[in-house]
């Protein structure tokens, strides 16, 4: 919970978090080593110096550290766990649904557990998706269209097998399809991280929501174009938001373009934990205003109402979270005990 100086409470849903194991013991090959090093470069490059972690902590953090960083030190009320399997690089996978499920089990009111599928897994994969959905009552999945799988170096959402999986997801009540369309996950071809396939499936599956993580960077321009035309396409801010510290000017341009093209109701906050932590991101975001010259150009303003939507209300809508009821649950469980009396007192 973030509380403004005036006492406004902002309910925060962190749309993008991971509970990973990138440690050398779990690395299967050089790719596993390079993968976590690349994440660490993102972390080191964009974090304020005071927020930088040691490499060892970054490679593998425990559940308590994660809980503290998100909900005690940070302002998150809830967090979405997004899996990243990468079983070709890591012995037990990097960040699987099963690993994340342990976090969810310990703190059921705090986490939303998402699953994953890969259309290249055929009918076995469809069975697995059914089982995963039954076990964990999934409302969302995270997809990596550029993930390696044996000989294949990626797939498109518009491929025929992808359609079968999306149809299955629809039947299972999995409404939120988070798609990693972002930088540096092994794109051999442009296609693997092109956002055009989103356009295709967003039209074909009108009652699914497509949340494009990292707002399509490095394809922000193509993404804005597609998201404008499709009502069910959303932007996840992970990776874009940390620029608020190192390059506030660029961040201002990006957020004002997003507001201009897709509007305040379709942008979701995400820390991408453990690459970044929500505390400093949200502190900076709440203090941030789009400079007057950019507002003059785009007409975009980051009002308190808009910030509130981005930080939590938009995700709450997608995941059917009743914010007031959820706050009561968290408060009853002592989840706000670390906050000032005014916030955690029963009312």
């Amino acid at each position: 919970m973030y509380t403004t100086a005036k006492g406004d409470e902002i309910f925060v849903i962190d749309g993008h978090t991971h509970f990973w194991d990138g440690s050398p013991a779990n690395q299967k090959n050089i790719h596993g080593k390079q993968f976590i090093e690349c994440f660490y470069a993102y972390h080191s490059n964009l974090s304020p110096p005071s927020e930088k972690w040691e490499k060892e902590k970054f490679e593998k953090y425990d559940a308590k550290t994660m809980f503290d960083d998100l909900f005690v030190q940070g302002y998150d009320d809830m967090a979405i766990l997004q899996p990243t399997y990468l079983t070709d690089f890591y012995k037990n996978g990097f960040n699987t649904t099963e690993r994340n499920a342990a976090m969810k089990k310990s703190h059921p009111d705090r986490f939303i557990l998402n699953g994953a599928f890969d259309p290249r897994d055929g009918s076995k994969g469809l069975e697995d998706l059914h089982a995963l959905s039954e076990n964990y009552k999934l409302k969302g999945v995270k997809l990596y269209t550029a993930e390696w799988r044996g000989e294949s170096k990626g797939y498109k959402l518009s491929d025929k097998p992808s359609y079968q999986y999306l149809e299955a997801a629809q039947k299972l009540g999995i409404k939120n399809i988070h798609v990693h369309k972002g930088p540096t996950i092994i794109p051999l071809n442009r296609d693997a991280f092109d956002v055009a396939d989103i356009d295709d499936v967003a039209t074909s599956f009108q009652d699914l929501n497509f949340i494009v993580e990292h707002c399509g960077l490095p394809r922000l321009d193509d993404f804005c174009w597609i998201a404008t035309q499709e009502t069910n396409v959303y932007a996840g801010l992970a990776v874009a938001l940390p620029f608020i510290h190192t390059r506030p000017g660029y961040f201002a341009h990006v957020i004002s373009e997003l507001l201009f093209w897709i509007g305040p109701d379709k942008i979701l906050f995400g820390s991408d934990y453990g690459i970044w932590t929500p505390k400093w991101l949200i502190d900076k975001f709440m203090a941030f205003e789009i400079p007057a010259d950019i507002t003059k150009e785009t007409g975009s303003v980051l009002s308190l109402e808009t910030k509130t939507k981005i930080l939590g209300l938009n995700a709450a809508r997608l995941y059917g979270i009743d914010v007031e009821a959820q706050k009561r649950k968290i408060r009853a469980g002592g989840g706000y005990a670390h906050l000032p009396e005014a916030v955690h007192a029963p009312r």
Binding site: H31, Q34, F35, E37, C38, A41, Y42, S44, N45, L46, E151, K153, P183, T184, I185, I186, P187, L188, N189, R190, D191, F193, L217, P218, R219, L220, D221, C224, W225, A240, F243, T246, R247, Y250, H253, V254, E257, F260, W261, E297, T298
Partner: protein
Amino acid sequence: MAMNALSATDTAAPDWPVADRQAELWACLSTVSDPELDESVVELNFVTKAEVDPGNRVHIEFRLPTYWCAANFSFLMADDMRRAVSQLDWVKGVSIRLGEHMFADQINAGLAQGLSFQETFGNEADGSLDELRQGFLVKAFQRRQVALLHHLLAAGQPPDSIVGLTLAELSTLPFDADGETLLRRYLERRHVVGPMRPDASAFIDAEGARLSADGLPRYLTALRRVGVNAEFNSALCRGLLSVRFDLDTPFVPDAKAAPVAAQAVAATRPATSAQLSQG
């Protein structure tokens, strides 16, 4: 791994110092851009070595911000460097090596054998580089055009006279130093969307249609996101490269900075080569 540039100097013909060829080589590489960022691969610190050996063969090494940078972009940049350098009439051969990249072995083998991207990656590659190259050239054109149009509007040129300009007329307008740069960069890419006849419209869109004065504000708004995207990616790439190779200070290749004195000693930046070879 590093060749000794000094020995190359020693054996070069006295009337044609290797230093000049070295400088020419760097200047040539400066004209090659990262297709996506539309910035010079030299400016971006991607090129770590560019040397001329006694046989006038050129040896280039480059690196990228991440181990995962797209293989096709990597190949495209290498291919562009090879094409650019081969234009120099004294060049007898070009070797290009990409360092610390997940496809380094495949790409380097393909480059060494003069294969295309398609031939190098076989079934894993779909689509030729030409299409990709064209797509990014159009984006670069758009970005440069928007910058020039903003400059002209800010200088007080009315929209209806701007859209009426021919290429010949555009080149005769008075520009300040910033404007000159924007004009030069625009003209470098203008051919991507239409023929460069002097009487052709200076400002056309990606489909080759002349811009209209009324539609200009909307056109500029629509293209603004192309520029924002490129700047954002550039910031990301520079930052990642800097962390990955621990670049405390901006890398200025010696051959570029100091035409004669320093360059023969090392066109390779010693600290960087050491890190590269550590893997």
